[in-house]
């Protein structure tokens, strides 16, 4: 037995050291590489660009933020983007619930697996190709309008098309956490609720929803952040509309004005941080 302590080694005797070793690589990566780059971006927002050379000039000022605030168009774009994000999230939640519920509570083990594959598979098809497929759907002569025509409806490129396409693209990100959340509710709890006399609606409201909320918020973090950062879909199906992502992209890559792009990028960052803080209490972050 004498050599056992040696075999167990230093690590065994010093849990804090173990913790330190476990934690430092991921923290170095995220804390140093990621946070530093975010911080540098934020700092850049307080600089300006020389309009001749497009070189960044390290002169501290608030001009970018002032412009952001004073030019109406950025407020319009922000509000529009937020609306889109909210609508996409609601649509996804409404569609995801029955599917997730069916998968978790109704389907047999075998079907569960099949459905899970069916839900996951579209994630592997290229995002761009899917968006372009929707472009064809929304075309004036496309299948969607061909089907809608008899009831006198016409859906062209625009905000509705953008919401539908984004909701389509992000749907798996909503179904997965919801499914995982519902799966954790033991069937016995549902039965107990019924045995105690609760009607279906009551069971859903009092038993299922409290479990579902965190999962829904977890999914909404995806739908929100993905929508706030998107600039491609709206170009493909959004008609003449633009979102925050387009404004950031245009300032950074087309206009070569990184400082202003950085200031603009603060808008979705602030929105997401506020949102994270708000949903944190619901336990959403553990459901991601």
């Amino acid at each position: 037995m004498q050599d056992v302590p040696r075999k167990r080694g230093v690590l065994h005797r010093h849990p804090r050291l173990r913790l330190g070793l476990l934690l430092s690589p991921p923290m170095l990566w995220l804390g140093v590489a990621y946070l530093t780059s975010l911080a540098v971006l934020l700092i850049t927002a307080f600089w300006t660009t020389n309009t001749f050379t497009t070189e960044i000039e390290r002169v501290w000022n608030l001009d970018n933020f002032r412009q952001l605030w004073n030019i109406d168009v950025y407020r319009t774009i922000t509000i529009r983007t937020l609306w889109i994000a909210v609508l996409v999230t609601v649509v996804d939640a409404l569609i995801a619930f029955p599917i997730a519920f069916f998968m978790a509570k109704v389907a047999s083990r075998r079907w569960q697996r099949v459905l899970l594959i069916a839900v996951l598979m579209p994630l592997w098809a290229s995002y761009l190709v899917k968006a372009y497929a929707w472009r064809a759907m929304f075309s004036g002569t496309g299948p969607l309008n061909w089907a809608l025509d008899p009831i006198g409806l016409h859906l062209g490129y625009g905000l509705t098309a953008t919401v539908i396409t984004l909701a389509y693209l992000w749907l798996p990100y909503m179904i997965l956490p919801m499914y995982a959340g519902l799966e954790r509710v033991p069937d016995s709890v549902l039965e107990a609720s019924a045995d105690l006399g609760a009607k279906g609606g009551t069971t859903i409201r009092r038993v299922v929803l409290p479990i579902l909320w965190p999962a829904l918020f977890a999914g909404s973090i995806f739908t929100f952040s993905l929508t706030l950062g998107d600039y491609i879909t709206v170009k493909i199906v959004g008609g003449t509309n633009q979102m925050i992502g387009n404004a950031v992209y245009d300032s950074a890559l087309t206009g070569n004005n990184l400082p202003f792009a950085a200031a603009l990028a603060c808008v979705p960052v602030v929105i997401m941080l506020v949102y994270l803080a708000a949903v944190r209490r619901t336990g959403a972050l553990d459901n991601l």
Binding site: T49, T51, F52, T53, T54, Q67, I71, V73, Y74, T76, I77, Y132, R135, A136, S139, G140, T141, G142, G156, Y157, K235, I236, G238, G239, T240, N241, Q242, N246, A247, D250, S251, L253, T254, G255, N256, N257, F260
Partner: protein, 394 residues
């Protein structure tokens, strides 16, 4: 990323260089009337051509150095080519400074900045045998030469055309008023426009022809008042625009499905539209249009100048020039390329048609120093254009 959109932007940025040249560092800047009016650093020009160094490092826009014609070049010259693509003209300006590259394809908005910075040197066109074949109207232009000295080899150009669906648009339009004027309302929701700040120049060009009291002389030299007028026009136009296009496929499919019936286009798109689906016509209106013209240049710090010259000669050789022009969808700079291009290609692209080329206002980068030579006002620069474009789209 090597998308058409970035290409277009790059071409636009090329124009920017011109501006920079106009207002470059003060000691270089001997002001004169308009254009590139600075004295570039005094750099020697290559006097004679030696044997290839066996390697060449090419800095190019995507689509300008594809395997299809790079491989034959390598075989013929023994210069092993490494190709680096850049995304924007600004990228190109920064990368060429590094000294890692021998030769670069510069758009009008980048070329003068490179010249002013001394990153590229004068080109001895005598060492480029194919240069003598290049269309004369591409030589000694403000974006590729300074004081009569060529700084590069022009290799292709193109115009932004007016395209419409013949079935839906009557009578056939003859100028841009169909997208900017009152007629546009007839096609409400079916008008398209190019999705880039540089499209402001299209509006400015229309105003230049229709609103003389605005005194616009160059669509890339707009003071605040002129820019405001162009922006107002574009905002008015937006009411009729169904969508803005930024890539080939998007516009092509929009015309084929009938979602778009009239708007600005490139020849390559006009040719791609399936005539069975949409009978379209594309013209360069007599009142003129915007367009692009690109140039190959040699880096000052290049260690493979012989190979760089061989490349410049090769890329405008009839066969390669035809390949690039067809790949990218532009007019070649060498008339002999037409023998190697697909039948009718050069006619479609009006290669060599000097009168046609004269109607093109080549993309240039707007800068604070007015490109049209005005000294009493400050012009709006590309950054302001970018923000203005965001405002137009709302």
């Amino acid at each position: 990323m090597r998308s058409v959109r970035t290409l277009a932007t790059a071409a636009a940025v090329g124009a920017m260089i011109l501006t920079f040249g106009g207002c470059g560092s003060s000691d270089d800047n001997k002001s004169s009337n308009g254009g590139a009016t600075f004295t570039p650093p005094d750099l020697p020009m290559k006097k004679s051509l030696g044997k290839g160094e066996g390697a060449v490092s090419i800095l190019a826009w995507a689509g300008y150095a594809e395997k299809e014609w790079v491989t034959p070049f390598e075989k013929a010259t023994g210069c092993k080519a490494t190709v680096k693509y850049f995304n924007t003209s600004d990228d190109a300006v920064n990368l060429i400074k590094s000294g890692d590259y021998d030769v670069v394809s510069a758009s009008g908005d980048a070329s003068l900045r490179m010249i002013a910075a001394g990153s590229v040197e004068p080109v001895n066109t005598d060492l480029v045998p194919n240069y003598k074949d290049v269309y004369p109207f591409l030589k000694d232009r403000p974006w590729n030469s300074v004081n009569g000295q060529m700084y590069g080899i022009p290799h292709g150009y193109g115009a932004n055309l007016l395209m419409w669906n013949k079935k839906d648009v009557n009578p056939a339009p003859t100028d841009w008023s169909v997208v900017f004027g009152p007629d546009a309302a007839k096609y409400k929701g079916k008008v398209t426009a190019y999705d880039s700040p540089i499209y402001i120049a299209d509006a400015a060009l229309y105003l230049m022809n229709t609103k003389p009291d605005l005194k616009i002389k160059d669509p890339y030299a707009l003071d605040q008042k002129q820019l405001d007028a162009a922006v107002a026009l574009l905002k008015e136009q937006k009411k009729n625009v169904g969508e803005y296009w930024s890539d080939y496929a998007k516009e092509q499919s929009a015309f084929e499905t009938g979602d778009t019936v009239v708007g600005t286009t490139w020849q390559v798109i006009a040719s791609a539209v399936d005539p069975k689906k949409a009978d379209v016509e594309a013209i360069l209106p007599d009142s003129g249009s915007t367009g692009w013209s690109d140039t190959w240049m040699v880096a000052t710090k290049s260690k493979h100048k012989n190979c760089a010259y061989l490349w410049m000669n090769d890329i405008i050789s009839p066969k390669a020039n035809a390949a690039v022009a067809q790949y990218f969808g532009e007019s070649p700079s060498n008339p002999k390329a037409c023998e190697f291009a697909a039948k009718g290609f050069c006619d479609t692209y009006h290669a060599g048609d000097a009168a046609y080329a004269a109607k093109i206002h080549y993309w240039n980068t707007p800068t604070a120093a007015c490109l049209d030579g005005r000294k009493n006002v400050k012009c709006t620069d590309y950054q302001q254009w970018t923000q203005a474009w965001t405002e137009v789209k709302g």
